[in-house]
Symmetry: C2
Subunit: 221 residues, 2 copies
Amino acid sequence: MSVRDLTIGVLGGTGPQGRGLAYRWAKAGLSVLIGSRDAARGEAAAAELRSATGSDSVGGADNTEVAARADIVVVAVPWDAHAATLGPLREALADKIVVDCVNPLGFDKKGPYQLEVPEGSAVEQAAMLLPEARMTAAFHHVSAVLLVDVEVEKVDTDVLVLGDDREATDVVRELAEQIPGVRGIYGGRLRNAGQVEAFTANLIAINRRYKAHAGIRITDV
Amino acid sequence: MSVRDLTIGVLGGTGPQGRGLAYRWAKAGLSVLIGSRDAARGEAAAAELRSATGSDSVGGADNTEVAARADIVVVAVPWDAHAATLGPLREALADKIVVDCVNPLGFDKKGPYQLEVPEGSAVEQAAMLLPEARMTAAFHHVSAVLLVDVEVEKVDTDVLVLGDDREATDVVRELAEQIPGVRGIYGGRLRNAGQVEAFTANLIAINRRYKAHAGIRITDV
């Protein structure tokens, strides 16, 4: 199973992270579907991507239709909409590889901080809502600013891919590596995803201190 | 204030992480005190380090004496002993820079996982026990195996330094950079330390999968 033969759906594909990932995958020649709450906004974002990348393998629809049609489904909705978006998709996502990218963060005048998630993490919440899906978590730390920047040829970061299903994490690692510069690195089981999601708060603090778009590399791998 | 003019105390300096850090700092010519529950074990570890590094600026004592005599105090005790070690040191550590390195992790047959800490993280527990200390957190991810290996010239990792006291985090960043290969990078406020501590579980998972001694580098900084 190669990601190059599959259709990648992005729920919340009109937000910065989802749009950035969809742009890179479309540019790499993958078949991509952009989902939005509103089908017309999904289609408008898809039309933009088709013209930005020259690809004709990009479509748009509402999140429900994208979940039904895609082979791999990336969840890039805001944390506020996470449970409400995924709950109704249980049947559509059964047996599919699902990739949760959501960072449950709050912001106040001191900056970002981890929100408490009763299930432990966004992806563990997703796993409870979608018990038949092949659940993984990845792409938390990739700068949306760099992803959408057409001047940026390579994104200098590793993507940690978490999950308990070895084949699913291998496929998502390959999906990550469709983005030039990126390595997909196995990052542990789902029960260790909470700290990976929350680490985005640290990267935001680093970005503010150093005026950077920080990413991470794992050394000795 | 340069770390090269200060005495660095390491509580739990006979454990792998503490011993590895003390070795690197002694080798760099810093003045180091190794603390242990047992003064004789602290002194024995110090004697070993003096002979390994040729430095005569390494001493050993019990944790209480090290806390009293050192200028900067690194906490490298096991999580089980964290609260019990720090509680009685409130006066000795008042106004000193304290560096918490402790990772509250559990292990079962599926590997490592984050333990729940009511205060949020080990360093936030330390901050409650030592309200007058200048609290920071760092060195969670540095491989003890690499630190103690005399064949390893440079340790290929960044050290994230967290804290709410800017001067204290700057001093600890300088302390990190006494280890060849290491950059000390500001990593956020104490309230964002829990995920940095817990991320050690992910690095252990990575080490197992890739047969590595993984570290992290922050990109674009």
